[in-house]
Symmetry: C2
Subunit: 242 residues, 2 copies
């Protein structure tokens, strides 16, 4: 038997494409080409199965994939079907959450990243925030104050998430807002599990922060935020280890 030809060099590993992936790509291709736009409705699973010459379950897996990716939403019933969305950041926040749970990101790195993102958001917001933005944030803080710490932990958590969302909106940059949600929403679980931190007044810190923001004092706002984050991080680390 002859020698194995080694000099042929690097063969690329063969990767079999699954049928549903091909379907996803074709649909994404139509989106990229501009033939499909948000609001459009794809043909039904049964129709597409015929068009693609595959079984319904295969189309189904493609639909499911696109749904999880936030590209379409699926509606039952007559006039239902797969409707193209404008996109959704849920997949991003979900993945971020998974990465935390799976230990691929440490809480340390996560917190640091939050600080980084918020520094930039604050910088943008200081330039662009409108009075409406400030008022919305102020209302959010007011509602946070109203809610007692003991009960209504759920609402309090939601208000915290909303606070950061409003701040992100004030940056007037949708991409940064999405990154902000990616780095904020996973907090929900921690806040729920660890309970409230009664050792200091969150609303007070946020009000001070808002004041700096209103004065467009970037550095002071960042400093207040960093202080806030540091305390929160210490609280979380302490809770988790105990």
């Amino acid at each position: 038997m002859g020698e194995i030809a080694r000099k042929t060099g690097a063969f690329i590993p063969v990767k079999t494409r699954r049928a549903f992936e091909e379907i996803c790509d074709q649909i994404r291709g139509e989106i990229q080409a501009g033939n499909l736009v948000p609001g459009d409705r794809l043909p039904s699973e049964r129709d597409l199965a015929e068009q693609f010459q595959v079984s319904r379950s295969t189309v189904r897996e493609a639909f499911r994939t696109l749904e999880i990716s936030g590209v379409v939403t699926l509606h039952k019933g007559s006039k239902g079907g797969a409707v193209l969305q404008r996109g959704d950041n849920q997949p991003i926040t979900q993945t971020m959450h998974d990465l935390l749970m799976l230990g691929s990101i440490s809480l340390q790195d996560f917190t640091e990243a939050r600080v980084c993102i918020q520094k930039e958001i604050i910088e943008l917001a200081c330039e662009r925030a409108t009075d409406e933005d400030y008022d919305a944030i102020e209302q959010n803080i007011a509602r946070t104050s109203e809610i007692s710490l003991a009960d209504r932990l759920e609402e309090r958590t939601e208000l915290t998430i909303e606070f950061y969302s409003l701040l992100a909106r004030a940056s007037k940059n949708s991409a940064m807002a999405i990154l902000m949600s990616a780095i904020t929403e996973p907090l929900r679980d921690y806040l729920r599990r660890l309970g409230p931190d009664r050792s200091w007044n969150v609303a007070e810190s946020r009000l001070k922060f808002l004041g700096h923001l209103r004065r467009r004092d970037k550095d002071a706002a960042v400093a207040e935020m960093v202080a806030h984050m540091t305390r929160l991080h210490a609280f979380m680390i302490g809770k988790i280890e105990s």
Copy 2:
């Protein structure tokens, strides 16, 4: 007929949970509880169908969902099955790409977000980058120089993506590295479609940038990067509109 009882107040809209979602949640719950860790192998579709008292196709949709989310990978054959991953940022970059394609994020916002993220990455890298990091980046730039602009667009694009990835790695923060990839990888498509920009020397700019980084001169590095981004953005806008 009596009055409609309006004072009952806010009924919460009923949302029916689909079976596969429940399965996903249970599996994610086990991960969160620490009963499942990366490397573990889930039971086969057939087994889980029995355990969950659902059909195989339902388990399959759950598996597909977790696969798309980067939580597991599916392997065929004996000893195959769903294996828990350490997580994957592919879902994040894919979603970011979708959001761009669907017009949910403007190229303007996207570029600005890139600048924001990279500012923070540079700041971290200036503090923490090691000689190995610098050398890896330098090698990357060297290879970029070698490749002629005309041919090998593909490789050139990959090297560009790798450049940002190496930079992110130098920040020593995995969360920021993931955000960086989210905001960098979607570029691949643009670079491929628009072709190379021959009007200025990319490698030269990157070398200058690396010099600033080595001297840990944060401000200069950021300035060089911003200049680079500005030119690239102008190039992309020009190409797209023409």
